[in-house]
């Protein structure tokens, strides 16, 4: 890795994003619009006393899921474009290191996700009165980590996709099982043993649990830090595997 090349690559990816105004608008606006839907869906649901409202429970989890899903998709397509446009092959003949490219994507889309998460969190907290015991800063921080997880998995999966059609299908393969089993629909400890085992193997489960910890406790808990560390480890592992699947030589 080389700091100058990493910075140039991050800047290049952000510049590409900047030329695509519609994508920026979608990135910023869509999560807020979806949160609005969720708010009105649960507006008239009764809440048992001494429990968080259904909206509070779902919206908090959504703040982590949006960046994960969106950045996974955006990254898969971006990396596939690098492959099909020939720029990837060309980059691999330059002094650029594989990790410069992969971390460049992670940092650039992580920054985009920070903006997205800040806007979504602002809407959730100040328009829809989302209440969490812990701080909004931790929620945004974990959301950005979720986005970076999406980027890392997207980079890894893009190695196995030859066409756009294949790349898009990795969403149901990689993302949706994690969504189903992350504890949003059924609490993890109420699932069958084998489902729990699967859930334990999915990094998104830890990301969601970390958010729920922030929702329930005023101060960061040990469990939250452990969850954050697991997600961070998954990010590093996915990036290293993605680097291993990037071959300079091909047939």
């Amino acid at each position: 890795m080389n700091a100058r090349i990493l910075a140039a690559t991050t800047g290049r990816i952000l510049r590409q994003l900047r030329h695509d105004r519609r994508t920026i608008a979608l990135l910023v606006v869509v999560p807020a619009v979806l949160l609005t839907l969720v708010y009105f869906m649960y507006a008239d649901q009764p809440t048992p006393p001494d429990q968080p409202t259904t909206f509070d429970r779902i919206a908090l989890v959504m703040l982590g899921i949006f960046p994960f899903v969106i950045m996974f998709l955006v990254t898969s397509i971006a990396m596939l474009r690098e492959r099909t446009s020939g720029t990837l092959e060309r980059l691999l003949t330059t002094p650029l290191g594989k990790l410069d490219l992969l971390f460049g994507y992670g940092i650039a889309f992580g920054l985009a996700a920070a903006v997205q998460a800040a806007v979504a969190a602002a809407v959730a907290y100040w328009i829809f009165d989302l209440e969490t015991a812990g701080s909004i800063g931790l929620v945004i921080g974990i959301a950005v980590l979720d986005a970076v997880l999406g980027v890392a998995l997207g980079l890894l999966c893009s190695a196995f996709a030859r066409t756009e059609f294949q790349a898009v299908q990795f969403l149901p393969v990689v993302v949706i099982p994690q969504l189903l089993l992350c504890g949003l629909f059924v609490a993890r400890d109420q699932m069958a043993g084998w489902l729990q085992a699967l859930s334990d193997a999915f990094p998104l489960s830890y990301a969601i649990e970390a958010l729920q910890e922030v929702g329930a406790h005023a101060e960061p808990t040990g469990r939250m830090w452990r969850d954050v560390a697991v997600v961070f480890g998954a990010v590093v592992l996915a990036l290293v595997l993605a680097a291993a699947t990037l071959r300079r030589r091909s047939g």
Partner: protein
């Protein structure tokens, strides 16, 4: 002085087909060497092997004294892929600056590379809005921006108007005069005459490796197109008679 590129018994198979079949040749430093041959003859594969992104089945490729693909060579070799490989969603200038940064060069070098390929007026334009010829010149600018010692150009003049083509060839010769080695592929024979040295490949085999004048003299004609035709016919006649001899011996 040693050669810029030394290739010995290079064999490459792609998709179960032998694309390069035992090529041995040398490319002298500080000259423009033309790689000529019809479409599908193996020119691109040969260039990919020199750049070090091609998996090879046999033989050795030595570039600037080191095995092709050695990390240190990535600072010293510039590669122009046949299809323009630049970012369509960035401007010409942003593309050139990014590739300049990868080689540790700055804005001055980027602007110079852009004006060298005659794109100064389109520098602020998105590559996606350029014509095909302009786009491939933008790609060329990115290959030259690192001021490499060895430049591998895969069909750099396709789709350019005659005036621009003449300008580009003058530019290549100026670079060679300054000590840069250029390997330029083309399937247009009238470009062969502009080269200092020629490599002619057909169906994965090297048919000629000499200066244009020597090739004309050997074939006994002034027209290079005709000279190549005679060399190919002579090669085929020789291999048919060898086959016939072998067949007689087996019988």
């Amino acid at each position: 002085m040693d050669d810029a590129i030394a290739v010995r018994d290079l064999v490459v198979d792609r998709g179960g087909r032998r694309v390069l079949d035992g090529i041995s040749c040398r490319v002298p430093r500080g000259a423009v060497t033309g790689l000529l041959g019809p479409s599908g003859s193996g020119k691109t594969t040969f260039m990919r092997a020199v750049v070090g992104v091609q998996l090879v089945s046999g033989g050795t490729v030595t570039v600037l004294g080191q095995p092709a693909g050695t990390p240190a060579l990535r600072h010293r070799v510039g590669y122009l892929t046949q299809a323009p490989s630049v970012y369509a969603d960035l401007t010409v200038r942003e593309n050139a600056r990014y590739f300049a940064a990868l080689y540790g060069r700055g804005r001055v070098e980027a602007d110079r590379a852009i004006s060298d390929v005659g794109l100064a007026e389109a520098a602020g334009q998105l590559v996606g809005t350029l014509s095909g010829g302009q786009r491939s010149r933008a790609s060329l600018a990115c290959a030259l921006v690192g001021e490499p010692e060895l430049v591998i150009l895969d069909e750099p003049t396709v789709g350019q108007d005659p005036v621009l083509r003449a300008d580009l060839w003058a530019r290549f010769h100026a670079m060679a005069a300054a000590g840069t080695t250029l390997l330029v592929s083309s399937h247009v024979m009238d470009e062969a005459a502009r080269c200092d040295q020629l490599l002619l490949i057909r169906q994965g085999r090297l048919i000629a490796d000499d200066s244009p004048a020597a090739i004309r003299a050997a074939a006994g004609v002034d027209d290079l197109d005709e000279a190549f035709l005679r060399l190919i016919r002579a090669g085929e006649a020789a291999s048919t008679s060898t086959d016939a001899t072998a067949a007689r011996e087996t019988a």
